[in-house]
């Protein structure tokens, strides 16, 4: 349904929240946005994330990130059913202290793109971090369900990684209740 009527929602909210518009909210089939507030300064969080070599410290299923030239990096991630998933990521936007956007290069295992934004939170709260992911679920709807059950679906992964990012930045640790040999990397 095209917007023939003027919307009166004026607030700065992402299309994924609009009723019936999640599908058009991004270039791929599955789109989601997730926000978390972290009690650290915006610049510090941006700088930590922008050095992608830091990301495996809290991204549990990322096996390796190899920095290539010109904002490109090769990612190897544990995928559904224990099979490794690989792609090359390209930074498409980089506004220091504010925003990093990326896109998976054609030819990789998962076609996706996304961005992360850092905004000052209201006083005493630190920084609001928003992550948007747009991707094609592996092998259609059935694949998406399977991936979700296997807890590897990108949207679920992103939610968990944001929690871990917050834990690491605020407490210095990634929270775990597992025995040492099963703990996520910290």
């Amino acid at each position: 349904m095209h917007q023939t009527e003027q919307k009166s929602t004026d607030a700065n909210v992402h299309p994924t929240a609009f009723i019936g518009e999640a599908d058009e909210a991004g270039p791929h089939d599955a789109n989601s946005i997730r926000a978390v507030t972290i009690g650290r300064p915006r610049q510090e969080l941006y700088a930590f994330w922008r050095d992608f070599r830091n990301l495996p410290r809290f991204m549990e299923n990322v096996k390796s990130i190899e920095l290539l030239e010109s904002g490109r990096s090769r990612w190897v991630v544990a995928g559904p059913g224990g099979k490794d998933v690989e792609w090359v990521s390209v930074v498409t936007e980089d506004v220091p202290g504010e925003r990093i956007a990326w896109r998976a290069e054609a030819g990789g295992d998962i076609d996706h793109e996304g961005w992360i934004e850092f905004r000052d939170a209201p006083p005493r709260r630190g920084t609001e971090v928003r992550v948007f992911i747009s991707y094609d679920p592996p092998a259609g709807t059935v694949g998406k369900l399977v991936a979700k059950v296997m807890q590897r679906e990108p949207r679920v992964q992103a939610r968990r990684e944001l929690r871990r990012f917050k834990q690491l930045m605020e407490t210095g640790e990634v929270t775990t209740s597992k025995a040492p040999d099963a703990a996520p990397r910290a």
Binding site: T37, G39, E60, R124, R125, G126, K148, V149, Q151, V156, R159, R160, E161, R163, R164, K166, Q167, E170, T171, G172, E173, V174, T175, T176, S177, K178, A179, P180, A183, A186
Partner: protein
Amino acid sequence: MRALCWHGKGDVRVDTVPDPRIVNPRDAILKVTSTAICGSDLHLYDGYIPGMHSGDVLGHEFMGEVVEVGPGASHALKVGDRVVVPFNIACGNCFPCQSQLYSACDNSNPAEKADASEIAYGYAMTGAFGYSHLTGGYAGGQAEYVRVPYADVGPLKVPDGMADDQVLFLSDIFPTGYMAAENCDIEEGDTVGIWGCGPVGLFAIKSAFLLGAHRVIAIDHYPRRLELAKEAGAEVLNYHEVKVREALSEMTGGRGPDSCIDAVGLEAHGFSPDNVIDEIKTIAKLATDRPHVFREAIMACRKGGTVSVPGVYGGFADKIPIGAFMEKGLTIRTGQTHTHRYMARLLEHVQEGRIDPTFLISHRLPLEEGPEGYRMFKGQQNECTKVVLKPH
């Protein structure tokens, strides 16, 4: 090590399990010297709490001796320190912790465990010891040893010369009763009505007097509990014998208690999230919570008064007298205990002799007899007021 493990409804056993180890820098390992069975443990025992896996180690009220400290906590604790540990886990760094809302810590529930309670409640529950994977799947303290995360924040050092029995209840039930009473905003001349004379209710009675209550009226049906409540200074009502609201009205000259504490909580039906949650394997279709006491507290409380709810609820409730709540202008205050906020202060009350928590202990058993302890605590609620296990 030996540990008390959950294996299903009515099935707890002492098993040999791997010793806990330091995982994160701020961890410590405790040798447990005393640990208690809580009324909430009975919900686990009765199979009402989802997110339990066979083999989970129980226990959230415990204390002991530090045997290992990670580098991130060594500024606060050293090997040999005797500490009592709060039942919920708080990082100390997040906004809630900084605001002393420790039971709302953002970070203590592991990321992969947080989904279930986020779906059920809108926000993930805070981590706690030995209380299902909803609260993070942490091994509990009804064991010989336990891993304590954020050990620079939680554990409270025990002064020399104090016995375990004197301080063990700082881990949960004493702060819980105290916060319940504090939440009543007790003022001069106030009468506090307290439903439930289990451990939390009994500590709430004592705390209410500490905080200046003029009178406390306590309600239960177990004679032994009413006796303890009376010994704590309350005027007692057995709800099998009297019509509670009528009695309260008469006793307060028609006003109603100025504040009412629901120290009963959900009755026997357990947590009942709205949707079946993918990750939770044990949930079937559960009935809604039965909030008899909550309803009665709202109806009995004086206009403009406060209803304080330490009693645990998990899901949804029908027929709440929300009209009475609104038209009488009540305040409802509730939440899991912000244990860390109270422990030092309450330790001082014990040291100064204003409260002796040992009154509550009816049984002391070795850890190996833990299963019998559960059976007793569940089956003999009149005689058995609190079971303390000694793992060493």
